[in-house]
Symmetry: C2
Subunit: 300 residues, 2 copies
Amino acid sequence: MQNYQPLKQYLADKRMLVEQALEQYLPQADTFPPLIHESMRYSVFAGGKRLRPVMVLMAAELCGKDNNSVAFAAAAVEMVHTYSLIHDDLPAMDNDDLRRGMPTNHKKFGEDTAILAGDALLTLAFQTMVDPQHCASWSPAAMLRATYELGSAAGSLGMLGGQVMDMQAERRQISPSELEYIHRHKTAKMIMASLRIGAILADANQAQLAALTTYGEKVGLAFQIVDDILDLEGTTEELGKNIKRDLKKQKSTYPSLYGISESKAMANNLINDAKISLQIFGEQARYFVQLADYIIARTH
Amino acid sequence: MQNYQPLKQYLADKRMLVEQALEQYLPQADTFPPLIHESMRYSVFAGGKRLRPVMVLMAAELCGKDNNSVAFAAAAVEMVHTYSLIHDDLPAMDNDDLRRGMPTNHKKFGEDTAILAGDALLTLAFQTMVDPQHCASWSPAAMLRATYELGSAAGSLGMLGGQVMDMQAERRQISPSELEYIHRHKTAKMIMASLRIGAILADANQAQLAALTTYGEKVGLAFQIVDDILDLEGTTEELGKNIKRDLKKQKSTYPSLYGISESKAMANNLINDAKISLQIFGEQARYFVQLADYIIARTH
């Protein structure tokens, strides 16, 4: 049994920077009009894992830049993630009542406000990415490239494309390649982008960028397979959301297509590939390696 | 009676550039996954006035830049406008069936696809704004500033703030200052931003930027007052959307607060202020002046 304590401490430190940056870039709850700002903050501060923004910080650090100055991009990535959850949970989409152990945004604020709060978080994410005040630390050209990366990962050829396919995949048997498309786009694209954004801002070279891209792709896919397994094997208390949702929605998942033990083997292989991809960084990438193992080991 | 023929030809030429740019930046309808791309294109190419993107081109031209190279920003502004219409029309929001004489996006594609298509247009707008290929024509720093402008105008302190207040204003009497807040934020902010984006990319000086900002503010507010009047006085055939929607929703409007003739006087005053604000540009601003008059004169 691996000792994850140092990793957990490392991630907790990074997460604190993410929380500070989110606090800095999100308007206060009483900012006019308060309803939308309360709603935005409710979902952002509902206590997620902050996996994606932490990866922005980790990638920048691995490529030689300090954490503080890249925190704005980490906050932006988390805003995009939160908006996607708010819209995914809507009655017209997944129609979920519970998220991170709390009522979903539309349950708390109503459907209209939830739609607008999601829109506002997506907008604020891009606004934060291009804020000219960051030109003091970063080249405008790198900021443009990093923002373009965020747009292409989150858009209709990325995360939203996966979301549309996922929506169309309910209540019917889908092929393994369709399922891989969905997981790759719904989840892996934004994880890859998080790593690439950190690396691009830190002026990574092509080999570094390619290595982190492969790592993100493999870990992102493994992460989603583990999510499918947890939906079957976990409990509502552990996960903070309703379980067996995929079954109820007759959604195809890795376990439903391949069985649980084959799904676990596939996730393990992906994690191994992910770890190998970072060999060029040597010992510096140790937390990335441990994080990959931890993703497989997690129960929530 | 003013002869609007030269203005109409001028606007038609600009609109053609906008159409070409939208065609260039929107994925083809058969791009995978086709459902979301068909849905995005359906609303973008439903034939709007293109007022906002034309203003991007006009402002850049007034400040000395040619139209073609700024067309990407015009396309981005129109994508933001279209996304806002798709989400406004949703059942949880205004619940409208008809837009520009056609079924609204959710009527045609379903609510889930309409939400995602709106999200995708908003995302693509920002992606288009920061596309590094435009660095050949524009300075990265100006691109960042222009994109920041788009974000702040469209976000929770801009258009979305107006949208939230509008939503909360239904079925109750609101104060004149609340109504002005809504119109200023829902409509004027994006019109101001369109002009400012064109000007910023064209490296306008402070006086030029301030003049165009005032013009946009006055014209934007007048435009919305005229919209309120048309909702009462126009016909469904002329407007391509259902009329007397405000009455049905018991929404406060300029005519309901001030009466029709006082509302028309207010719009006229704003249009005069708008025209005066552009005096520093002299004869070069003639199409802006005519456009201001035309906004008052329009019936649809």
